[in-house]
Symmetry: C2
Subunit: 403 residues, 2 copies
């Protein structure tokens, strides 16, 4: 009998327990023997649960129990979660997590401790919830150099945008609806301002390029500025608006990484990814484009990814999986100033002005005085300057990259 522990009994934590109960037979088959969740760490009172006797409030009980070899950290945050993860690893226990904030900000350090102690720190669930992505990148695409990663990494914002696109709901109403449905938190900032997607594109970039991409350094724009007018304009250009996290490798080994709303042409598969679903497109230099799609969040989906990591640790006990990245000292992140993109611009003003100031490829005037332009590709910094100057001759209502 293998013994495990769960740190935190929130949505994902209770889901991990449920997965181990629900699929006990399958899990025993994969692990080679049954797996028992010996402890659940939570300060709240869960004594009425059928497994209430497993709850402990003192982390040291788990830390000091040599029987426990693998631990799920599903508390979230970077305070206690960091401290407990570190202590578990130091105590020779493998740790599996869905905590993207912790992986993105201190993953390098925790992976180093794991390496020194010969245990594993795994985080399949930290990107894309239940969608397999970390392991396929590391293993199945191991013989590729990664050229690009481009994904819909946040389910909440994708739900909101889907409501705006298909039901003509305003951003504010769609957000309220997402909160009522449990898809958005009371304080939705991390989702709608793109911080959650930013942590995820950083984790994927760390893995793809081998050095730390700091979320604080990565350009990050959310969707709170997207309007129904933009949704309608995108439709006219044969596109839908999606919040995209993207990393693009340059020939010199540096990479762009950023989060921003984009116009996605409808023939791109990412345009068909709706509601709370996520999808991540990866381009490898041998394999071309591959895409991974599924529910990016949700109790059991995320929990089953944590559980699968735990099973991997159990099956490979005593054998470390080679995962690591540098501490950021290689400075691989290139500012997006020089990133070339085609742009969508919505401008209230004169047709001749916008044609003179932007490299316009197509121009429409759906209502008198409101112009929708699509530009050829140009560097971000040039576009920003042009937009500033354009703003002096009229009103720039919106400017977004086209994928």
């Amino acid at each position: 009998m293998i013994k495990a522990a769960i740190l935190g009994h929130g949505t994902v934590g209770s889901g991990v327990y449920e997965v181990f109960e629900m699929n006990a037979d399958k899990i025993a088959c994969v692990a080679g023997e049954p797996v028992e969740i010996k402890y659940v760490l939570d300060l709240r009172d869960f004594s009425s649960l059928s497994y209430g006797h497993k709850f402990v409030s003192d982390f040291a009980v788990i830390e000091n129990d040599p029987e426990v070899t693998v631990v799920a950290e599903v508390m979230g945050g970077v305070g206690a979660a960091y401290e407990f993860t570190r202590r578990c690893l130091l105590a020779g226990k493998s740790v599996c997590t869905s905590n993207k904030e912790l992986v993105a900000t201190r993953g390098d350090e925790l992976l180093k401790i794991a390496e020194e102690k010969g245990v594993n720190y795994m985080f399949e669930a930290s990107v894309g919830g239940g969608i397999p992505i970390i392991r396929p990148m590391l293993r199945c695409l191991a013989a590729n150099e990664f050229n690009e990663i481009c994904g819909i990494l946040n389910g909440t914002t994708n739900y909101i945008l889907t409501q705006m696109i298909h039901n003509g709901v305003t951003f504010a109403d769609a957000l309220r609806q997402a909160q009522l449905s449990g898809y958005a938190e009371k304080d939705p900032t991390a989702d709608i301002e793109g911080h959650d997607a930013c942590r995820k594109i950083c984790i994927l970039s760390n893995l793809a390029f081998g050095d730390k991409f700091d979320p604080d350094q990565v350009s990050c724009e959310g969707i709170s500025g997207v309007t129904l007018e933009d949704v309608a304009s995108a439709e006219k250009l044969g596109c839908v608006i999606k919040l995209i996290g993207r990393a693009v490798r340059n020939e010199d080994g540096t990479a762009y990484a950023y989060v921003a709303p984009h116009l996605i042409p409808k023939e791109n598969l990412l345009a068909s990814v709706e509601d709370v679903f996520n999808a991540i497109m990866i381009n490898g230099n041998a394999t071309g484009d591959v895409m991974f799609y599924g529910k990016g969040a949700g109790k059991l989906a995320t929990a089953s990814a944590v559980a699968a990591d735990m099973l991997d640790c159990i099956e490979h006990a005593g054998h470390r999986l080679r995962i690591s990245w540098g501490n950021g000292s290689k400075n691989l992140l290139r500012p997006i100033d020089t990133l070339q993109s085609a742009w969508y611009v919505r401008f209230r003003g004169d047709r001749k002005t916008i044609e003179a100031m932007l490299p316009v490829e197509s121009l429409a005037e759906p209502t008198e005085g409101m112009l929708i332009a699509r530009t050829s590709k140009l560097p971000t910094v040039d576009m920003e300057k042009k937009i500033a100057r354009l703003g002096e001759c009229g009103e720039v209502c919106a400017a977004m990259r086209i994928l």
Copy 2:
């Protein structure tokens, strides 16, 4: 320096060599040291190649060289490929392959030998070419019971159907085009009659359900009977036609597995998978639907999947990955007689007749006397009987499942 060998220098074999050359730095980084392809086995003369000196025509050279620890079998077929794979495994060498025919027909036996010898037999490239699918199923979804697998598993037929759907090309012309583009072989039977997709759905079923699904026992229908009239009728029903390999688990642990053309509603993501691309949707009882998408064939894509397996063998030398399935004695395959599906039927005859004989949910008459029906769900065997009787009262031009 790690030494490897490649059996067969066809499209995939030469691709494997190319991937090891092209991404040598990345590969050395993953493997922990450089990997050298010491031998390439092929009977043909490749002496003019820069690596012509590595070619051998005698398999025993590779078999008897203890330096070679991992071998790529990319010859295809079940004759010499089987014999050489068996002998490599018996000689304590891990084998990685893209040979779906061999994996589907003798995988159980070869995995058993690998287990006995403490080496690996891996076949990520056998399904979906460069798309990660085997490993994600085995590892990332390890904590799930699999409810359903449903995929576009053959690029050639998807290319042909895409030509028919978007360009109004007949089946015969689209096939000719596919052959000219190198997407279809001179003898296209294995692709267009669904045998290739059948082997792949069998491999996925073996992995998902743990016992051998014999391709010879699995119901298999190709696309040679699909006409432009069917394509147009599908469009009227809001669908596109795709060749689908599908496996569905029943509550008693048995499973349906079959290959057949289906009408796919356009809101289903599989409907947007075009040209030579493949996509595989998997439903796990915890994770819900996840989908994997990419090029299902092609030299470098497939080769990079073989190379990734080889890297996994190298990194886990001396440590076996738990992959196996039974020899088929559990008889998990359930005949599709009882499988419930909604159907599309194209019928030349009387409206009252078809309404009386089928559980029609919607009926259209695009041209006088030609009826397009969509039925409610009913078991295959009932449908077959009804179709036979309907054929006595008019002409049943087509009948296909709706996904």
